[in-house]
Amino acid sequence: MTITLYEKVICDRAGINRSLSRIAHEIIEKNKGTQNLALVGIRTCGVHLAQRLKKKIFEVEKVEIPTGTLDITLYRDDLGSKKAPPVLKTTEIPFDVNDKVVVLVDDVLFTGRTIRAALGSLLDYGRPRAVQLAVLIDRGHRELPIRADFVGKNLPTGKDEKVKVLLEEEGEDDRVVILHSRREDREKPA
């Protein structure tokens, strides 16, 4: 049973779009172009954001950046503690990661554990020259020494709040919301 106490929209369609445009430019700027650049989205929302970034980078540089998809389920550190294993989807990295600069893309950066798992998974595919991290929202409360290179919005949150990124690709109106809800069985957020 989840009781939602309040829900607040932090960012709308235009806001998300502006953040992604800026991140796309920053990625190009930091890497001095698109040479050896690749994007990898973390399922589920990160995949859509990576596709949007790819499009924006193409608009600026007229270059198609190789883009992949990562499912980190098998690398999670909390599998045994969950009552049911999450549904497993495929990982698709359709390019050689060796010597690439890989930009990991995720929607919300929170504890850092997802990124830790994503790094483990990505490095099993080869040895990238560098890995950078782009997130739409950084909400703080890190539990591991991980930081993002590109941030759409820094969002101070309470630990029991929830931040959700809703996207058109998942059948929602583009927006970022902050939820304060209470679960009866008080599950820890992933």
């Binding site: 690398y75 990982t91 099993d124």
Partner: protein, 310 residues
Amino acid sequence: MSLKRKDLLGLKELSKEEIGLILDTAISFKEIASREIKKVPTLRGKTIINLFYEASTRTRTSFELAGKRLSADVINISQAGSSVSKGETLLDTARNIEAMNADMIVIRHASSGAAEFLARHVKSSVINAGDGAHEHPTQGLLDLFTIREKLGRIEGITVAIAGDIAHSRVARSNIYGLTKLGANIRVIGPPTMIPKGIEAMGVSVHHDLKEGIRDVDVIMMLRIQLERQGKGLFPTIREYSEIFGLSKEKLKWAKSNALVMHPGPVNRGVEIMPDVADGLSSVILDQVTNGVAVRMAVLFLLSGQPSPAG
């Protein structure tokens, strides 16, 4: 969705949705085998015991690889060279294994019901890797996976299973699985090898190979268990082979794009001729490849249970 059970004992008790979940999960695991590093850390720290009371190359290796690619520690125990040969009972062996905190036990045994017996008495997850003439669920699942991968669907297709149906756990698991997913099934063999009343499982019975494989999408050949020769099931191997062995000429009776499957080990020249086993229609080696992915999926989905230690 998840697999909310401790053990995998047979396909009879699985729902259509549970079978679907295992097959879908296996797609992701198949991709891992194509990577340079064929290993993920998912089951790190878990212990899997392969307890094999019958000879096996494929199934044991497949389970061992599946466990190791998920980073579990896998130990193999076979009848020879263990205290099984000193007369220890199945239950005592299992309790000792459990006392060493094994998370999963994969068992193959000559007696039908051995896996279920074990599952009732130990807290570890038990996976049936073949029990007597009862079931061989992971073989059934990998067959379903292979058919779905090759034909794109299972619902509505017609599958012929030919050979010693009466003694075949592979046939039983496949019949349960295929009927749940909506396939039509024909069983083919001499009357001595078809159990009475098998129609109740929703299959049709044929004693003539030509009539049985006409227009089918899949032909599943079963191994003739040579050790059963001389028990009155069939007069001679040569006669069986003449009538029921699948040759290139006989294969023409089926659909032109029909799949030929065999659970192995193959008796070349007995139930299946070499040119068919190695022919274009044959997916026998795909079955073996898929076996590892399907078993990884089963180990992964069953590990969602709290470990016996915790």
